[in-house]
């Protein structure tokens, strides 16, 4: 059985496969990459490099976009 790790994605706890990359998460959640910004543990991530970022247990990912505001 594959080893699992726990991460937080936009405040929600998720259990994912060990050795998942940030790219896997983006793909799985159908995130439109051109319209978002991504933070990993409060550090901004270069969107071009997400294939090379392996996730670890307890990682906190924030994916944000623009919404209506004043």
């Amino acid at each position: 059985m594959k080893k699992k790790i726990k991460i937080k994605l936009n405040g929600k706890l998720k259990t994912i496969n060990n050795k998942s990359t940030l790219f896997n998460i983006v793909q799985k959640n159908k995130i439109p990459l051109a319209k978002v910004a991504i933070e990993l543990n409060q550090e901004i991530v270069d969107k071009k490099k997400i294939k090379n970022i392996n996730l670890k247990n307890n990682d906190k990912i924030e994916i944000v976009h623009f919404i209506g505001g004043g």
């Binding site: 929600k12 944000v64 976009h65 623009f66 209506g68 505001g69 004043g70």
Partner: protein, 257 residues
Amino acid sequence: MKKDKLIISNKKFSSRLIVGTGKYKNMQECAKAINLSGAEIVTVAVRRVNITDKKKPLLMDYIDPKKITYLPNTAGCFNSKDALRTLRLAREIGGWKLVKLEVLGDKKNLFPEMIETLKSTEILTKEGFKVMVYCNDDPLMAKRLENSGACAIMPLAAPIGSGLGIINEINIKIIRKQTKLPLIIDAGLGQASDAAIAMELGCDGVLVNTAIAKAKKPFQMALAFKNAVIAGRQSYLSGRIKKTLYGNPSSPKSGII
């Protein structure tokens, strides 16, 4: 009037009305109101992507950032750290450097927390951002923001969403006289005439959200604000007459039968 452009950080805009994209019933209503307002700049907020509901409509699908300048804001930030984090993320979404800084002081009146605002303006400017700053209507603070590198001064007319109109015209006039930076009234307007007054005081533009989005007829109000901003600007540039205490007839006094 054709050459009378609003220039913010070397970028020219024909419309002096900036509108917010919040509080509309839906994206369609928001997009139509913006279109009718003639605004070329819209404020937008940075928030978490909805992971659970992927079908939620995206702002960018309704308002094309290639045609309309997005002005990311820091609404909901109560300290410098959160404001910086938000705008750095906004820049990362697609290179946005022109931003609206708004650091609030308390949840009830939504007045700006000026110490944190000043600190953030300095840091953001050093990082290459062009910072349009929501601030109180204090001429001294406006000067300090200017010295810290702000690219536009945006004093409130009244508390955000209050619809009270310009409370302190004198302070706005003083800020107008002391700065060459774009001066934009941000927050607190309630009706189109408030925008005309702001323009007649010499402001370079106004930023409106609630007064349009929450009007009974938002589309009509968007048009009203568009026209009021144009009228107010024309009036300001026309040089108004002096006020006098007594009457002065408009028809000749001679030749009366």
